[in-house]
Point group: C2
Chain length 340, copies 2
């Protein structure tokens, strides 16, 4: 019987109960994330469900119609844009957004999974790069669809995901500066362990090469995507005798730090220094001067992810991966070099 | 029997069913926000429940443990701070935040109520000034607790609410400027129909009077709490021959607009113009220069509201109203007048 199930016949919950030597209601409790099952029994049943590749036909009787979104940190300037995207789709589908802050930049906490199995949402939008294998299996066995929204650009290959075109964005930012005549263009990209940082850096390098400029290694910095980090790198770059005439700041927060460094050093923007951000979150419009930046369509990315959750999918097909285009938004922080 | 119920004896659902001439399950469906009841029957049962002051003992069998937060607009810079406050309390109580965007600045949409009755959350945080009477009755009859978080400062008297001290905040902002020697201090407060705008304006007036300055009516403006509005008022104020040496901007977004106006007009901040914001949302820290501002403890206000929901209350006692203190955060956008 073990054999049969593995070659594709659907295993029934009754068969799992027999094999685990428990009652059918106990199996059902485990499936529904109830807490009144001993950890040993729960693990035994989980393993059997996984071994047989059990998949629920539906997520059970409808409760609250929830679309979950899970973040590593709510304070991220991305968070509100992504929430709004999910809320737009939820509203049109008579659903409500449920929101959890959990885990690290890379994956949600293990406790989160117990909660989501109890809540049985219509689907889950994960704002993480990776999803642990056991989490994937638990969600799949309960027929809870999930999609990664990954502005950082390094999604698991076997999970549906929505990202954006980081290399092309980095290229567009640097090219805008070289087109204006800048030759000494610095970059403060993101952390070295994020794919998006590397992709934006490579886009910058290609744009510099296309314009015939050898990028000075002293002008290439890895930042932390925060305002203060951008400020510190910019102070260092702008105090050099051969200071850059333009800085591509890797994200908008770092660009705000660059603007503050310019103010402290008495350099006018864009007269004496051009600055380009990345993301186009609202503070980019509110800065003084308003930032030229690369727009990641964060709200649309989240909408796309929420729509993918609500669409029926064929589990035998490879996971859908979407990359939305970025585009340059020109505001007032860039100008040809040599002004005042 | 009608009489009896109205003088305080608990009405049973069976009695409501008899009076409405429907079955008990039908009454139960209405209580649970199910959609398979005709609108006429629903209204009849709603009215009877209301007339008898029916209150559920509990919110029924536990489903997903949700704490709802409802906003007029998610794009508000307040929104993320408030969400984080509710999430902090939810996490400690093994609950999840559910989020809805609905209604106008004053009250949620009528459709929202049907959804919340279905979802049966542990409680609801409403980021609105007022709650329509029928919404209050519906929530009360289902034993769903609710609290208003009202940074705008005009809550219903019969609803528990958490606000902050707007008059004292306006006083602190203006006093900081007069203490530094500013005499021509302009104010761009919020819209005229929000209590918080009027309270901040009155605080400013009292501080000016305390310092012995007659506020010039030409320097008192009502804004719209947006960046562009702040920019336009500031352009107008700063082009006057007798321009102010300081502007109290009413909120942080308007203050960002004031900074941009100063940049466009070539005025240095704080050398030639001091600027004070209000709220202390993250963009206030990220601006160039970083803003001196009045901090509304938005996250703590939301935490307080969420905690009130989870505490058992005595419905015979008056609704609890809390006002948290504001305080001035001095950064780099203010200095004595006469610098450069």
């Amino acid at each position: 019987m073990h054999e049969e199930a593995q070659v594709g016949r659907r295993i029934t919950l009754a068969a799992v109960a027999r094999e685990a030597d428990v009652s059918l209601p106990t199996v059902s409790k485990v499936l529904n994330g109830r807490s009144d099952v001993s950890p040993t029994t729960r693990t035994k049943i989980e393993r059997l469900l996984e071994a047989h590749g059990y998949r629920r036909r539906t997520a059970g009787p409808p409760q609250a119609r929830l679309i979950e979104i899970v973040f590593h940190e709510l304070e991220s300037v991305w968070a509100m844009e992504l929430i709004r995207g999910v809320e737009n789709v939820a509203k049109r589908n008579d659903a409500t957004v449920a929101l959890t802050e959990s885990g690290t930049r890379h994956a949600p906490d293990p406790e989160w999974i117990a909660g989501v199995l109890r809540r049985r949402p219509l689907g889950v939008v994960l704002v993480f790069s990776t999803v642990p294998e056991d989490v994937k299996r638990q969600l799949r066995s309960r027929a809870i669809p999930f999609v990664i929204v990954d502005p950082a650009g390094d999604p698991d290959p076997d999970v549906p995901s929505v990202g954006s075109a980081n290399w092309a964005g980095g290229m567009a930012a640097a090219r805008h500066l070289t087109d204006q005549g800048h030759e000494r263009v610095a970059i403060i990209t993101g952390p070295e362990d994020l794919m998006c940082s590397l992709a934006r850096l490579d886009g910058y390098r290609s744009a510099m090469a296309m314009a015939g400029h050898e990028p000075d290694p002293a002008l290439v910095r890895f930042g932390d995507f925060h305002v203060q980090g951008g400020f510190e790198h910019a102070m260092d770059l702008l105090r050099r005798p051969d200071r850059p005439t333009a800085i591509f700041a890797g994200n908008d927060l770092q660009a705000l730090g660059v603007l503050e460094a310019a103010r402290v050093l008495g350099l006018s923007v864009p007269g004496q220094l051009s600055v380009v951000g990345y993301d186009d979150v609202p503070p980019a419009r509110w800065s003084s001067p308003p930032l030229t930046t690369v727009q990641q369509p964060l709200q649309r990315m989240a909408e796309e992810a929420a729509r993918m959750l609500l669409r029926p999918t064929d589990p035998s097909k490879p996971a859908l991966r979407i990359e939305l285009a970025t585009h340059l938004v020109i505001r007032q922080s860039t100008a040809p070099p040599g002004g005042r």
